[in-house]
Symmetry: D2
Subunit: 445 residues, 4 copies
């Protein structure tokens, strides 16, 4: 998934970037980094690990200046990428540049191949490197702004970008607006852009507005200028609402918690079930479960405990680790569950293995019936726009029918929320969103 | 707070102790340790840090045998105790012994002074060392069992003990039963005793029963023998229900989550308020808030987010760290809160500083009114039985009236649950519980 | 300084590279890395720190294949380079490439500027990146060999290079042969090239010959081919003999220990002094002191102890750390020194601060006289070929006369070995060596 | 082996103890610790690891006061002792006490058994604990001084002790004076006692005199008082001269380097051999080799290099690690060795495995002949006074004749220095020293 942040016009730029990244840690725990500029030079500190593990007080003496960009990285690939972390920094024809990127390019390989053909070298596996190359190659143009526009017009896919030069900061969101990106005003002076508005709270910023799909914002000489560089054709990632974004963030103009709760209400309307209690799979199913409970009138119970001394399931890199962690992470409140009929609410089913383990655990704890209700449609296809879903083959819903999945996970019943219901929940035009992982309808390939 | 565990009769004794300690990590993050016996020798591994940080695979080659005891330590003291960790191991007249202790002795100083007078040395600040001395000094008695009984009859206060000799395991709970202690049967063979039943789930054990106040259980020759060594006069710690125990644990015969929810219901009955939503301070206020919402009919909303990339507030050792962490840990869902009247449910108020910060945060997020409802009475006195409450002076309710506290924390109203309502919630005799931190009525001093 | 290694044709290629780097750790403690190829892909592991700190057993599962190259890095620059480590890996027109470089290019900036002008990006501060760019840009040539030759013909300065493609390994030494590079045959199969022959011992290799100045060796299809790609004009770094290389290495065709001892003999002939004992500054002055003692007949005494629990002075990155370490590293054997006239032999004087501290320490220990004899000429200029000497201003001999330096360091006398004497010691033509840091006669600029 | 230090009457007492321990790190790398007293309380910081790894700046805020004691620990035992580190601190009848001990008690078990019989508990495997018990039990005596005297009269064996109470410091050396202990005066005020005088240099102290065998020194009210509490019968450890002590230390009234060199001279007289060069096994054989060379006229050559990026052989805890490290630690200067007849000087032979590996290495490097000359007699028995020699069975000289050992280690000849020659070298009465590991004549058992 990843997150990006940019701070402009604040003397504590890099520290604010640090806190913003901390607030967006849920979007990537593999690596993190910050670049800052003091007007003369860009400095970068990045490493593998959590934000709080990487940065020491000393680093902020290096990361001087009143402009900074940052990134948390969510691992998507294999051992190849062991050294990859953002920002990607480079010296090039116009001086120094550093870029952070949230998203995924669908034509990265083509661009890379073409660039390689004319002599480019690629030192990382990151799409960001493509972008720097495109900017650098375009040496006939003398203004960075023009080069950036030319470059982003060549790339296709999902990109929420923050680009730092020695004296300016550029923010761009792809015309589809796949990934969120918001603009805020810092109370202590200057501006912030961040993948999620939850970063605004911690650093003391007020939400101004979303960066628009297709928009470029330029921070220069203590001013902000905006320009539409693409015709916007919004296809915002519905999965941000379903799983990724933090409930306290506002994403694509709506509060995530509220949307999730509303999806829970729709789930109750669309897929009612006779049961004694509504139980969320914590933490991602909580808001939807609350909505389900309020709509259905079935009591809401936090009957599955989450142990927070371990990390987040979906985000772990290998299957083996994930298995151990499920056992160490969730535990049922037996006393509440015994002899009861449960509606269990989860945000999604990917491989089915976790769901299977949860159902078994609840049955062992004495549940009379376990009805799984999923606050999203069946995930049938991978994402090419920055979400690390597994391959089609690994997605259980690409191979099995809902009935077969219910059997596999040993649930008494299973049902998914329909796309129509989601649309109702978000109270927006369906067309503005990307549902590709659910309906195979990819906006760009 | 601390937790203890004992495993008897299982070839993976030390590994099971490890997982049990992991499940009880919330009862102490300062240090942890395990002793095991292979029948000939007792080995110990202990250190500062979290369970998962301390133990490496290699340690379990040292921790051989089918009996093991373990401990997680919750720091209560200053720098003096930097090296203290349990189990406390010693060689003495009957061979080798290792002890873990959850609780606090009120006559530790007297015993220590008396022992020191006759030449004893104390290498730690832990009450556990007293106990080993008492057992060792009693050299005229030739049976460990008799020595243990003599020893525990000399100590006063709270003690849930597990004692390991080379071939036996003894479990004792003080006559007041201040701290919880439960017995389980391992599916893979043998027995477990643990401070909380949440440890049973992870290691695959079935709850058998609580160790009774005043009871001693002896594990020997693959058998269990029980003996009442004290006249039981139960004064079980009400704070286990209010804050410490994990919701999925059954403590003192009742499920913690259910008790907490019921306390929330009583809170709604006793202290109604006109409001738009019920909001818990996560995680400790969730169950009570659910009860409050169900009873009052006011909608429940998870409108304060908790960031789980940092640890648990109450458990941090110093005030400074706690301050920073509050800001990094909780964040309001502004969208939900704006213009609304909130009933905010927390488990307790200690110094008042956290509550003040929470109220301010909610007001800044746009809350129209903030009504604090506390699912316990005002904490007016320290605990001498193993809970690390601050001194009387630091407890805000020992200095200020409820009205004054409300003003201090800037809440529109503040109210505490009464002791009577708690008694209703637990559906048990008041006399069986210790309410000393609320009513100054200390069972033993 | 840095060191490079290449292993070809051995199934434990990366492990052998590891041990070779360990043996050459004295040439750089800042960072280290290894790339290996299994014929299909090149994998790289690199990080800051010592060789033994960076690599874990697991890394060698990633570093598969029977070809590997490695590098230890000696920090020369400031905070800019915090992330720099070699090998530098890239994907480019002919597939994958990884390069290690020992040396320094004098036209790096020009090349960089030119490349940047035509759109190249530079992500590191390392000359190695230039080289990969030159190879990659040359896309009209279809053979890597041709591209490498074209590239190295464009660069000027010191370069001992090992280049790994997916199926071949190229070894090149610049026409001046500034930095050493030797070829060995592994007893367990295959070949090794390494900066110093001390690496051969540990991995079980036999010395074959030095890579010649101007030579390229190609390892391909289990064969070795050699080609002179430059007219050789040897200007080998005399400082390798004086300080850098390990005494057990053979460098530029001669054993370092023997050369150093011979320089000590010349020192005694050229700069005799009446004294009671010859004392080396350990470890770098030992061999020269032995030679001095044998030639002069003055007894040799190890009267300054070195504490090996700390690292090597000259190699530490900042002045502050170095100061502390001098005090913790060297200690005089008072008993031997009291009332004695000492000839103290050191390899060189850079800033003069260490010498000053040593003289003072010896005087405090009771030395009657301290005569410093330096086994090299006065260092008056920086090195542009890979040795991290400080700027001209910081070099004490660039500002002060020998007499003034003697006074500054509080020695009773001070004398430097002449270039002529060094030439005698190495028994070779002066012209074959670079003495630029002593005579300001830079072979290439 | 271990080392101890005591600082009295200096405001930086704990920091000075730290630097003194650093200087004595060669006497124990397993664990280290410091206790200090500010007059009211004794604080202790100790842990496993090197001195520089254990202590952080923050610790010295805890270790307040102008008195401090310290210890470095050399592991002698198995996994039992994983948690053992000194100082050993205790609260007892007279307040607080902390003790450091260098040496080994031969009646530790008897004392322990007796103490245990009357109810004592032992939490460690360290003899030091015995001593604190003896002091604490003696509760009828009201003065600590009297208790200490009574206690040390009960223990037998080797002990160089520093004892810290809240307001005094006691220093005791056993009547045999097995282990060294010296008194110095700090230039910055106050006194130091330390196992080796090398600690004096680093902290800026002047040697005053050795603590006498049988002497007790009391530091109190800024005064020093001395008392002979035992009839001295010196049996000082000859192995301190042979191997343990640092060359720059003065031990038992003589400089270690000078004694070692003199032993080398005696070795040359007693065991001449026709050879081309004298080569030390570094670092421990260097001084003796110098003496051998000067006496014999055979040139001295440092023809075996030592790589200082790894630790000291003899000091590693297990055989496996030691094997790997020999290969990574020593390397021959082939060029010097080829075709030459070598006299190789080592300090001692323990198991013979290292010697065998060294001889083989030299032969492989081309040595024509390798004559081993050992600067001590054949080690035939273990030490009971604090040196960690292996069991009799593991000592090669207890099983094989010198000729057989020569064959086993594949040397052309092998000879050991006689006790008589050692006596000549130290220029003192043989009776004042313990040669038990060489002549089986144990002063006390």
């Amino acid at each position: 998934m990843c997150s990006v942040v940019g701070i402009y016009g604040n003397e504590n730029a890099s520290k604010l970037a640090y806190y913003a990244l901390f607030a967006m840690q849920h979007r990537g725990q593999e690596a993190a980094g910050i670049s800052s500029s003091d007007g003369e030079h860009i400095k970068t500190v990045k490493d593998r690990g959590l934000v709080t593990q990487i940065f020491k007080e000393d680093h902020f003496k290096i990361l001087k200046g009143n402009m900074a960009i940052g990134h948390t990285r969510y691992s998507t690939a294999g051992d190849d990428s062991i050294l990859d972390a953002q920002p990607v920094f480079a010296r090039y024809g116009l001086g120094e540049i550093s870029i952070v990127h949230n998203g995924n390019l669908v034509n990265a390989k083509e661009i890379r191949d073409e660039l390689i053909k004319i002599g480019a070298i690629f030192q990382t596996n990151m799409d960001t490197e493509n972008l720097i190359h495109l900017i650098a190659k375009n040496y006939e143009k003398k203004r960075l702004k023009d080069r950036i526009i030319d470059a982003v017009k060549k790339i296709k896919g999902a990109f929420s970008l923050v680009i730092l030069s020695r004296s300016k900061m550029f923010v761009i969101r792809d015309p589809f607006g796949f990934r969120p990106l918001s603009l805020g005003k810092l109370k202590s002076g200057g501006y912030i852009v961040a993948s999620e508005t939850c970063a605004f709270e911690l650093v003391g910023a007020e939400f101004v507005r979303d960066v628009k799909p297709g928009e470029m914002i330029i921070f220069e000489n203590d001013e902000i200028k905006s320009e539409m560089i693409f015709e916007p054709t919004p296809k915002q990632c519905i999965f941000e609402y379903i799983y990724f974004a933090r409930p306290d963030s506002n994403v694509f103009g709506k509060n995530v918690y509220s949307v999730r709760k509303q999806m829970g209400r729709e789930l109750a309307r669309e897929l009612p079930v006779e049961a004694d209690m509504v139980v969320p799979v914590p933490d991602s199913g909580v808001a939807a479960a609350l909505g389900y409970a309020q709509e259905s009138g079935i009591p809401f119970e936090m009957a599955i405990m989450r142990n927070h001394y371990v990390g987040r399931t979906f985000i772990e890199p290998t299957q083996e680790i994930r298995d151990l962690k499920v056992k160490m992470k969730l535990s049922p409140i037996k006393h509440k569950i015994e002899g009861k009929r449960l509606v269990v609410i989860d945000d999604s089913i990917v491989r089915g293995t976790t769901s299977k383990r949860i159902v078994r655990m609840l049955k062992e704890a004495g549940a009379k019936e376990v009805h799984m209700r999923i606050a999203s449609p069946a995930t049938i296809g991978p994402c090419y726009y920055g979400v690390d879903t597994p391959t089609k083959e690994e997605l259980i819903a690409s191979r099995l029918s809902t009935e077969e999945i219910a059997k596999y996970i040993e649930a008494d019943s299973l049902a998914y929320l329909s796309i129509d219901s989601i649309v109702k929940a978000i109270k927006d035009k369906k067309d503005n969103y990307c549902f590709a992982c659910f309906d195979d309808n990819y906006p760009i390939l």
